[in-house]
């Protein structure tokens, strides 16, 4: 019979778990993670487009010389290269956005779920139509 005073102290056994630190370059370790980060970085080029458009509008408001000056700046090969890169990123945004939004939305018609491919497809079709309309506006004058 053990007296209460001599009850041994018991420490619960907890083995040392190994926790790996996540590297700052985690996004370079797998191609899928890199593609995700590139998708997020495309938003920088979206903002770049907005800023250049605002500058263009500002030039427009200042008069024909300022407007022409801005158009000349756009012809700079470095700026054109930047815009080409931006274009690829912005298109990458559109393509990834359409596939993301197809998965994020559940559209039910008559109790059955509309397949994602149909939602993406209609997005692409709308993209084509909208782009054609905008192009018509910009090209006719």
């Amino acid at each position: 019979m053990k007296s209460p005073a001599s009850t041994p102290a018991y420490t619960l056994n907890h083995p040392r778990w190994y926790r790996k630190r996540v590297s700052t370059y985690w996004w370079l370790q797998r191609w899928e993670y890199l593609r995700f980060v590139l998708r997020e970085v495309s938003s920088v080029f979206v903002a770049f487009f907005v800023v250049t458009t605002l500058v263009q509008l500002y030039g427009l408001s200042r008069g024909p010389e300022a407007y022409a000056g801005f158009q000349n700046w756009l012809k700079n090969p470095f700026v054109i290269a930047l815009n080409v890169v931006s274009f690829f990123f912005v298109v990458f945004h559109s393509i990834t956005w359409f596939s993301l939004s197809a998965r994020a939305m559940v559209v039910r018609i008559g109790g059955k779920r509309v397949p994602g491919a149909l939602i993406s497809g209609s997005n692409y079709a709308a993209w084509l139509v909208v782009s054609a309309v905008i192009a018509w506006f910009l090209l006719r004058g």
Binding site: Y33, F36, R103, A104
Partner: protein
């Protein structure tokens, strides 16, 4: 075809090692063998101390999740033939603490799952005499996909947000919360809302989409999270525009 295949298995013994290391094993190559068969062969014939979880060996219990060449997989459903002849690297699931060899501690996931109240919540239970809760096939279809989760945690191993933020609730927990939110028999959506609409739950998700890609049961947790974001956002809209409106 060669008759053996090389496996590099991550080993870690907390009593002896400071960090995991790789040990090489040569295993017979059989066309119909999966990684789990190879692990069982090693444990039977080569090194009985190899420690790993497995159970049903048919992709339904969710025990045998590990990283195979860096990719989260159920080892009972991953064929050696797909990797032969190159060596195959087997490691414990990413983003979880390693207890021993290929075994990880899943306490964090279990706690987060419990927080989501993954059970039918009713304002009032029907007495047994009134019979079952009836549900049409269409009502079942709304949440069935999310009920397929086997809690294998491959999605947590794939999710970079969970790796970076240990407080993040994670794909499976949120998908299972959605499974109950969308169930027509459930009346607990408002109870789950305060847990879900948090920065360490749905708003922490940046829709990387890796969880959906690796899920062996095609649950699409990423889709579930985004759909709940939309629900939460529309709820917010209604509460802002119609603050006097009842729910």
């Amino acid at each position: 075809m060669a008759d053996t295949i090389h496996l590099e298995i991550s080993r870690y013994s907390p009593e002896k090692d400071a960090a995991p290391y790789f040990e090489s094993f040569e295993v017979p190559f059989r066309k119909d063998w999966v990684i789990l068969d190879a692990l069982n062969y090693i444990k039977d014939k080569k090194d009985g101390s190899l420690t790993y979880r497995w159970s049903c060996r048919m992709g339904i219990c969710g025990s045998c999740g590990m990283l195979v060449n860096g990719e989260p997989k159920l080892t009972c459903a991953t064929f050696l033939a797909d990797y032969a002849p190159a060596p195959v690297r087997v490691e414990p699931l990413r983003n979880f603490p390693v207890v021993r060899d290929l075994v990880i501690a899943m306490t964090d996931f279990m706690r987060k799952l419990q927080r989501m109240k993954p059970w039918l919540i009713r304002n009032e239970e029907k007495p047994l005499s009134e019979g079952e809760y009836l549900q049409t096939p269409e009502q079942l279809d709304v949440y069935k996909q999310y009920s397929m989760c086997i809690n294998c945690m491959l999605c947590y191993a794939a999710c970079p947000v969970y790796g970076l933020d240990p407080l993040f609730a994670g794909p499976a927990a949120i998908a299972l919360a959605q499974r109950y939110n969308l169930d027509s028999r459930d009346e607990g959506a408002k109870d789950r809302f305060p847990v879900l609409s948090q920065h360490d739950a749905i708003w922490g998700c940046t829709f990387v989409g890796e969880c959906t890609r690796v899920c062996p049961k095609h649950v699409d947790p990423a889709g579930a999270i985004q759909q709940y974001k939309l629900t939460a956002a529309l709820d917010w809209f209604k509460s802002v525009l119609l603050p006097w409106g009842g729910k």
